[in-house]
Amino acid sequence: MPDLIIREITALLLPFIQMYGIYVIMHGHLSPGGGFAGGMIVGVSLVLYILVFGLDSCLRKVPHRLSSIVESFGTLWYAAVGFVGLLRGTSFLMNKGAGISLGTPGKLFSSGLIVVITLGVGIKVASTVLSLLYTLIEED
């Protein structure tokens, strides 16, 4: 009986938790939050899924190899964004000095490379939390 209640309520709540996590990542430059907090929210929602529905059911949706590849890809993304400044003539990791237009502050698509970097950091933190749980729980 308690098993049924927890399963139903988790199935209802999980999309809203992930939507909130993606909102916190995307509005990192307009309201408190940013890459690390939003990535942690999305990662913890996947941990909740493993705890309620079992490990095999999550391994079918996000395999172990995919999580490791996405996590290494996140670090490369950040370094690749840094090279944009080098290609334009100024130093590494420059935002305004490299000539990227900043837009009007207060809108969603403003401030140049900040949105790109925040997205990369968010994806990386979420997949790191998931990979850590896979490594700790799997036993063979």
Binding site: F36, G106, L136
Partner: protein
């Protein structure tokens, strides 16, 4: 002196939480409780650091474009504590992996029993 201590009450609370965490690490023999005690000590340090940057009557440091030039809270300690929290998560993950490995090798996670097993093996 007591009045001055009660005026800086966040520092007092951070010191108390730090002492509780330190006592937890030192006085239990279960390895999992030591990991929890380390986490509690880290929380106390972050609280102390962020409370040192507060300004009375200040707003959160998100610039309101309608009326700037207000009193804002210091944003620099918050930015430094973000890095600290990530380091704390990494240390906790590695400590838990070591506890799992010790359990696999010795069959128990009690520090006294592990010391007894190792001294019996050496003789």
């Amino acid at each position: 002196m007591l009045a001055k201590l009660l005026h800086n009450y966040p520092y007092l609370i951070a010191a108390l939480i730090f002492a509780v965490g330190c006592y937890t690490v030192l006085s239990h023999s279960n390895l999992m409780r030591k990991v929890i005690g380390i986490n509690v000590m880290e929380t106390a340090v972050f609280l102390f650091f962020v409370a040192a940057g507060n300004v009375r009557g200040g707003r959160p440091p998100i610039i309101d474009l309608q009326n700037p030039d207000q009193l804002y809270v210091n944003p620099l300690p918050s930015a430094l504590v973000l890095t600290g929290i990530v380091v704390g998560v990494s240390v906790t993950a590695l400590a838990l992996a070591l506890v799992v490995r010790i359990n696999r090798q010795f069959g128990t996670i009690d520090a006294d029993e592990i010391a007894a097993i190792r001294s019996r093996e050496n003789v």
